[in-house]
Every structure is written in structure tokens, then in C-alpha cells.
């Protein structure tokens, strides 16, 4: 079984978020990057489990500049066999999806896995776009994935229950919490990652469908106002006139 896992980098969750270039770009100075948790903990680990059960190969792909390589090495340390980096700055979901789709069309995979979203922009778009471009079935937000011959069984949470889907391979599936459990890379894996192939592929897509106009931070938390529990009039007044919540 040949599985491709799409790996994105994301800022560590404790990073301080600032912007540059007139608030149109995320300022990466001093930011620690990690493998996007949905890609790592669920998509990659489930791919490895499927490989361990059925044999085959796990390849990872990222669209990004050379500074992606440390997080790609981590994915290799966890157990992926081979890595490809499309040498291009990731600009928007379409451009990333189109690059990956190009790579897929000249190679052959039974299964393409992505995280359900990347924790920086939370777009949840790349998986669906890849599926659309390569014209294959797609299931998003999968919490469980089993493969049986040429069929994938997927579960995903619905309000008040679970939905079970069946997809014919090759298929694209985005992974959510529950699909697998995080694996800590072991020392042998880390040392082996050194010699696993990481190939740089030239970019082929220049088109983007979106343009970032401006980023802004959520408003700072305001001061807390304490209202005497007996003074309902003031509470209502504050909620109505100041917080405009009622």
C-alpha cells in the first residue's frame, strides 16, 4: 500500500503572534515551528499503522522553502520512508493543493492523507482541493480509517452521532483527532532520519486564488468589572449599553 501524507509546518502553540509587511504577513522571527499536529499525530501515524499492518510505503510531501526541512526530518524520524519538498513558498490553499496534485499525478498512491486543518490558518481546504484536481473521492475530518482491499472505511463525528463512509481507493482523506495517537520519535528513528531520502522538487504552480489583504490580532481582553450581586439594574445596563450583549 502506497500512502502519501501531506505535511505542513505550524507555529508552536505558545508562539507570540505578530505580523509584518503592513500586517499582510505572519512574522516568523523567533517563532518555533512544529509539524502541524493534525498531520503528525493523526494522518502520519495512521499511515504508519496501515503500512505496519499491510506493508507498503509512506511518503511525505510538503510545499515550502528550505526551512521546512527540520519538520520534514521529524516526520521521517517518526517513521515515514521518503520525503519530497516542493520548493515554493506556500501562498494559498489552491497553490499548495495544485503542487501536491501535480506530484500525485506523476506518481501513484492508494491513499492521500492530510490533517483536517493546519493550526495556523485553519483553512481545511487543501485535502478537498487535491481530491478535486486529481478527481478522486474525498472524506474530511475522519476520526477513524480502516482499509480493506481497495476500499477505505471512514468514520466521522456528526452532531449527536457518527457517520460511516466507504470510499473507493485511491482516495483523499483528512484526519481529525481520534484517528491515531501521537508517537514520540525514538532515538533510532531520529538517527535513521538522517539518511532517508528528502528530495527537492521544483515548483510548477504560480497561480493563487486568494490574496491576503490584512491580518489582525483578536482584541485584547478588557478589564473585568465587578457588579454587586444585588445591583441587577447596573448589570443589565452594562450588558446592554457597554458590552452590547443583550
Amino acid at each position: 500500500m502506497n500512502i502519501l501524507v501531506c505535511i505542513s509546518k505550524a507555529p508552536d502553540t505558545t508562539s507570540k503572534i505578530t505580523f509584518k509587511d503592513g500586517d499582510t504577513k505572519f512574522n516568523e522571527d523567533g517563532v518555533q515551528f512544529i509539524v502541524n499536529p493534525y498531520d503528525e499525530w493523526y494522518a502520519l501515524v495512521r499511515a504508519l499503522e496501515l503500512k505496519e499492518a499491510n506493508g507498503g510505503k509512506v511518503t511525505i510531501i510538503s510545499v515550502g522553502t528550505a526551512d521546512y526541512e527540520p519538520i520534514m526530518r521529524k516526520a521521517l524520524a517518526i517513521g515515514a520512508d521518503e520525503a519530497f519538498r516542493v520548493d515554493s513558498e506556500a501562498s494559498d490553499a489552491y497553490q499548495v493543493a495544485a503542487e501536491i496534485a501535480n506530484y500525485i499525478s506523476s506518481n501513484s498512491f492508494d491513499l492521500v492523507l492530510t490533517g483536517k486543518e493546519t493550526i495556523n490558518y485553519n483553512g481545511s481546504q487543501v485535502g478537498g482541493m487535491i481530491a478535486a484536481i486529481i478527481d478522486s473521492p474525498y472524506a474530511s475530518h475522519a476520526t477513524k480509517l480502516e482499509v480493506n482491499g481497495s476500499t477505505a472505511m471512514v468514520e466521522r463525528d456528526k452532531q449527536g452521532g457518527v457517520e460511516v463512509l466507504e470510499l473507493t481507493l485511491p482516495a483523499v482523506i483528512s484526519a481529525a483527532k481520534g484517528m491515531a495517537e501521537q508517537r514520540i520519535p525514538n532515538m533510532r528513528g531520529i538517527m535513521a532520519a538522517r539518511s532517508k531520502p528528502l528530495t527537492v522538487v521544483p515548483a510548477s504552480v504560480t497561480e493563487t486564488l486568494t490574496e491576503t489583504i490584512k491580518f489582525s490580532l483578536p482584541p485584547a481582553k478588557g478589564d473585568v468589572k465587578l457588579v454587586d450581586p444585588e445591583n441587577m439594574t447596573e448589570l443589565i445596563n452594562l450588558l446592554h449599553n457597554e458590552a452590547k450583549a443583550i
Partner: protein, 590 residues
């Protein structure tokens, strides 16, 4: 350029580009540390109270075995014995990364240090093949039985006896404070053969008849670390379980402790970083008088000081780690067997290892103490991690040789090197004598980075050489009995080494990354050196006045003042600058 020798820092100027700084860790090394930290965060931390309660004594060995599965126990074990064969510096980084795991940190470092290394470094090939792969994987767990009720710091006075009876050794005696004793499979035991003066060493397997354990000791901290008394009543072990040669045990014990000391410094560094983060988290969250307490100067002082000392420790620990590693590789490339090269490499810098043990354990004690203080009443509650950290920290000043023993060793080892002619301290001391008699040098300013700091660091070294040199001259053999003076000299040497390390590190940072954005780092180096000057002056005065007399004393006191004379520094602003970074990052991310 020749490599710096152990103790040579006192008479040699090092350039920034000659030292290793933690900013230079490779991606792979960072990943190794991350694995260790993730293991602590995910496997150990959720169990930390359960471990300390000792309700289920199987938790600790289970966790150690899990660490073994990830390869954490075998980082520095050579590949031919099933290990990863990683270099010394990486093993230090791993020791740091597991350092914040409370009782677990003690268990893992005891297992992979004193529990494994005596066999690795001194075992016969057969012993190594039998024990090391299983100790490296965690299948077997190890402990080290040296201390006895009446033989602590004076380890060679142990009474445990070994008598050869046919083809078996018969061991009798009592050991105490044996870390990992409760679950260890392999006991490295120090005992005297017949009526020998000096210890020999033996490998004893768990389950040997006559090997019994007392219940767990109740301790102030590291409550989840198994600490037992071990009794040997006619314990019979095969003759070939003797480890190394007869009467080589004391040397083994000392050499293994050298390794343990520098590893302990790394562990205290990891723990310090965690406690700084805990403390700034709390300070940012806790509101009083309508504002987070991190906005108050009294708290900022503490945060700034905690971060600065932690960073200084890190600078010194990895500087010496690189020197040790270079020495090990140098000896190995000359054909020395790797294990032997490792011991020799560490032994060369035994004084620095002792200094780092002292400094690291005292930084952690300061950091945990102020950490509790920042937490206020909550810090006194057993519900908080900082309370545990405070209690757990205390043992570090006691084990692996008390800090007092390590201070004396620091001075002793440096003076011995001088007497053996390996370090020309006498010439340096003489030139300081001459300098004292000459007109003070007001020096031309070159305006370079840390000009004042480097001048002070040179002054600290001069102060050490002046005090140590004149004390040795005056007191001769009596100096070893004047422990107060030895403490003063050791403290001055530590300040000199750490001050130089932090200044060189920040200098190298600025040389490679440029000046912008380095204010916090500069503030730490400036603050450390400025404050160290007061301490060095104080220690020099204390020492000089306890043996010096008359004009000579007056001249040396003038010298001590001159060597530690600082300019003005707004230390309040420096500490606030450092604290602000912690507060903004809400973590120790320096």
C-alpha cells in the same frame, strides 16, 4: 591552537569563537532533546503525584522501561552494545531534557549513569556483553552501592567485605541511600577484599541469596525515587563477577562520580528552565491590586535573576561539555578505547565538573526558592508543582559528593595540576604579585563589546590566583585543613568560569546573529559579571583576612578591590529587561 586544559581557564583567555554555544545545536540534536521532553511531558508528568505517593512501586520501573524502548537509556552507549553511540554533548542535552521530571529524573540518571557506566567503562568484554545491552534497553535496571552508614563523603572507609571462597566471592555488609534499590536487577557493589585498604567492585544480580532490602526511606523530596538500604549477608557471587582489578573500586567510584557531576549539572539546568516557566506563568496569571503580579518590580527582580542564572549555567555547562567531547575524540583518535577515552576526557576537566555540579545545584535551589516565593501561599501548597520542585531540588547539593566536598575538590584538583607542572599557575601568580607592586593600569579603552566585563573577568581570575597562590605559599600543607578558605577560592573560581562563559556566549551570539534584538542577552551577561564582582571581592577579602598579615595583607586587599572594581550599572533596568522577555513569552524561551 591547542585545546584548553582542565583548570587552564584561570590563566588563559578564551575567544568567543572557541566555545560551543547552545544556539548551535543541530536539528537532530534538538529532535533528540524534544523526544526526551515529550516523554517527560506525556508519560511522566501525568503520573508525577502517583510516582511520589509510592502507592504503586511498579510505575517507576515501567516508565524506565518505556524510556528504554524510545532509546533514551542508551544514548551514550556504544552501538556494539546495543546503544545509539551518540557523543558526549548530546548525552548532556538529553540529561538536561529529562532533568525536569522530578523523582523520575533521579531514577533515570541513576540507572543510566552510576547504574550502567561502571560496567560499561570497567567491565570485562564478557561482563559488558552480558549486562550492557540489557541495561541500555531497560530490560534490566541498575543501581550503585557505594555509601554506607559510616562511609558517606569518606567513601573509601566502607566496611563491606568480600572474601574469595573457592570460585565464589562471599559479600557481607550494609549499604545505604541506594537509589533505584527497590527495583534494580543489577547492583554494582563496592567492597574491600580481605583486609585491603581500598575498595574493589563487584556485580551482584538481584535475587542473589542473602541480598535483602530495607523498606523505602521517607525523604524530604524526590519521594518517588526508590531509596533503600541494601544488606549483604553471605551473598555468594561467581568469581568472575568481580568488576575490574582488586583495589580499583575507589578509583572507579571517583571517576564515575566525575561523570555523574557534570550530568547532574545538565539535569539541574533542565529543571531550572521548567521552574522559571512555571513561575512566569503564575506571575502573569495571578492578579493582585488589579494587575498581574508580573507587573511589579519585586517579582520582575526575581524573574530576571532566575532567568539570568539559568542562562549563565547553560552557557558554562555546554562550554565545558564541548571541551570534554573534544578531549574524548582526541584521545579516541589516538587509538584509546572509547570508554577509557571518555573517562580520561572527563577526568581532565574534573575540576570544572565539580564546579558545574556546585553551581547547577545552587542555581536550581535559588530558582525553586524564588519560584515558591512568586507563587506565594500557593507555592506552599502541596497541590502545586513548584512545591515539589522546591523539595526535590534540595538533594542535588548533597548527592554526587556534597557541594562542600566538590568545592574542596575543585581547588585541590587545580592545585594538584599546578604541582604536577600541567598548569603554570605559579608564573601567573608571580606576575600578579608584580602587578600588585606596580602602578594600577588605567588602561586604554578599545570600546569593544563587553570591554568592562572582560576586564573584570580577568580580574576575577587574578583574584583567584592571588588568593590561592598566597594561601598555598603561606599555609603550605595546612591549606587543605583550612576549609573556609578553600570554599572562598572555589566560589571565586566558579564565578570566574561562569562569568567568562556567559560573556563569551553572548559575544559569539552577537558576532553570528548581529547586534539587533540582543538586548536581553547583553543584559544577562552584564548583570552576571557586575554582581559576580561583588561576590569575588567578598570571598577574596574573607580568605585574605583569614591568613594574611600586615603590609602584605593590605596590598592584597587593595589588589582584590582593584581586580573587582566595577563601573556603574543600572541593574534594576537590566533585570527588568530580562524579566520583560519572560513575561512576553510567558515561558523561559531564552
Amino acid at each position: 591552537m591547542t585545546a584548553i586544559k582542565g583548570g587552564e581557564f584561570l590563566i588563559r583567555q578564551t575567544k568567543p569563537e572557541e566555545i560551543f554555544i547552545p544556539e548551535e545545536w543541530s536539528e537532530e540534536e534538538k529532535m533528540i532533546a524534544q523526544t526526551c521532553r515529550e516523554f517527560i511531558a506525556q508519560e511522566v508528568f501525568p503520573m508525577v503525584d502517583k510516582i511520589d505517593s509510592m502507592e504503586d512501586p511498579s510505575i517507576m520501573p515501567t516508565l524506565l522501561k518505556k524510556a528504554g524502548e524510545l532509546g533514551i537509556l542508551s544514548i551514550s552507549i556504544p552501538t556494539e552494545y546495543g546503544g545509539m553511540g551518540m557523543d558526549f554533548k548530546t548525552s548532556m542535552l538529553a540529561a538536561e531534557a529529562v532533568g525536569g521530571g522530578h523523582s523520575f529524573s533521579v531514577a533515570i540518571s541513576a540507572h543510566s549513569g552510576i547504574g550502567t557506566l561502571p560496567i560499561l567503562y570497567y567491565g570485562s568484554e564478557e561482563q559488558k556483553q552480558k549486562y550492557i545491552p540489557k541495561l541500555a534497553s531497560g530490560e534490566w535496571l541498575g543501581c550503585y552501592c557505594l555509601t554506607e552508614p559510616s562511609a558517606g563523603s569518606d567513601a573509601n572507609s566502607g566496611k563491606t567485605k568480600a572474601v574469595l571462597e573457592g570460585d565464589q566471592w562471599n559479600l557481607n555488609g550494609q549499604k545505604m541511600w541506594i537509589t533505584n534499590g527497590g527495583f534494580a536487577d543489577v547492583f554494582t557493589v563496592f567492597a574491600k577484599i580481605d583486609n585491603d585498604e581500598t575498595l574493589s567492585s563487584f556485580i551482584v544480580d538481584k535475587g542473589s541469596d542473602g541480598l535483602t532490602l530495607n523498606p523505602e526511606e521517607k525523604k524530604m523530596g524526590i519521594k518517588g525515587s526508590s531509596t533503600r538500604q541494601v544488606f549483604f549477608n553471605d551473598v555468594k557471587i561467581p568469581k568472575n563477577n568481580q568488576l575490574s582489578d582488586r583495589e580499583n573500586g575507589f578509583k572507579i567510584a571517583l571517576n564515575i562520580l566525575n561523570v555523574g557531576r557534570i550530568k547532574l549539572a545538565a539535569a539541574t539546568l533542565g529543571a531550572s528552565k521548567d521552574v522559571v516557566t512555571l513561575s512566569v506563568n503564575y506571575a502573569n496569571e495571578r492578579q493582585q491590586f488589579g494587575r498581574p503580579i508580573s507587573k511589579y518590580g519585586a517579582i520582575r527582580y526575581k524573574l530576571g535573576e532566575m532567568a539570568m542564572r539559568t542562562y549563565a549555567l547553560e552557557s558554562a555547562v555546554y562550554r565545558i561539555s564541548q571541551n570534554i567531547q573534544d578531549r574524548i575524540e582526541g584521545l579516541a583518535s589516538e587509538g584509546m578505547e572509547k570508554g577509557k577515552a571518555t573517562l580520561k576526557g572527563i577526568e581532565e576537566y574534573a575540576a570544572e565538573c565539580a564546579m558545574m555540579k556546585v553551581y547547577g545545584s545552587e542555581v536550581l535551589d535559588y530558582v525553586t526558592d524564588e519560584g515558591v516565593q512568586i507563587h506565594g501561599g500557593m507555592g506552599y501548597s502541596a497541590e502545586t508543582i513548584v512545591e515539589k520542585a522546591y523539595r526535590d531540588s534540595r538533594i542535588n547539593r548533597i548527592f554526587e559528593g556534597t557541594n562542600e566536598i566538590n568545592r574542596m575538590l575543585t581547588v585541590d584538583m587545580i592545585l594538584k595540576k599546578a604541582m604536577k607542572g600541567e598548569l603554570d599557575l605559579m608564573a601567573a601568580a608571580k606576575s600578579i604579585q608584580d602587578e600588585l607592586l606596580s602602578i594600577p593600569d588605567f588602561g586604554d579603552s578599545d570600546g569593544g563589546l563587553f570591554e568592562e566585563e572582560y576586564k573584570l573577568i580577568e580580574g576575577f581570575k587574578k583574584a583567584v590566583l592571588m588568593v590561592a597562590g598566597s594561601a598555598a605559599q603561606k599555609l603550605m600543607m595546612e591549606l587543605s585543613k583550612e576549609q573556609e578558605i578553600l570554599m572562598n577560592i572555589a566560589d571565586m573560581a566558579i564565578d570566574a568560569y561562569v562569568a567568562e562563559s556567559i560573556a563569551l556566549r553572548v559575544h559569539k551570539r552577537i558576532n553570528t546573529m548581529g547586534e539587533s534584538g540582543q538586548e536581553v542577552y547583553k543584559a544577562m551577561a552584564e548583570l552576571f559579571v557586575h554582581d559576580a564582582a561583588e561576590r569575588v571581592h567578598h570571598n577574596a577579602k574573607d580568605a585574605l583576612m583569614s591568613f594574611g598579615e600586615g603590609d602584605e595583607l593590605r596590598m592584597m586587599l587593595m589588589g582584590a578591590k582593584r581586580f573587582t572594581k566595577t563601573g556603574t550599572k543600572n541593574v534594576k533596568v537590566l533585570r527588568r529587561t530580562i524579566a520583560q522577555k519572560l513575561i512576553d513569552d510567558n515561558a523561559y524561551k531564552i
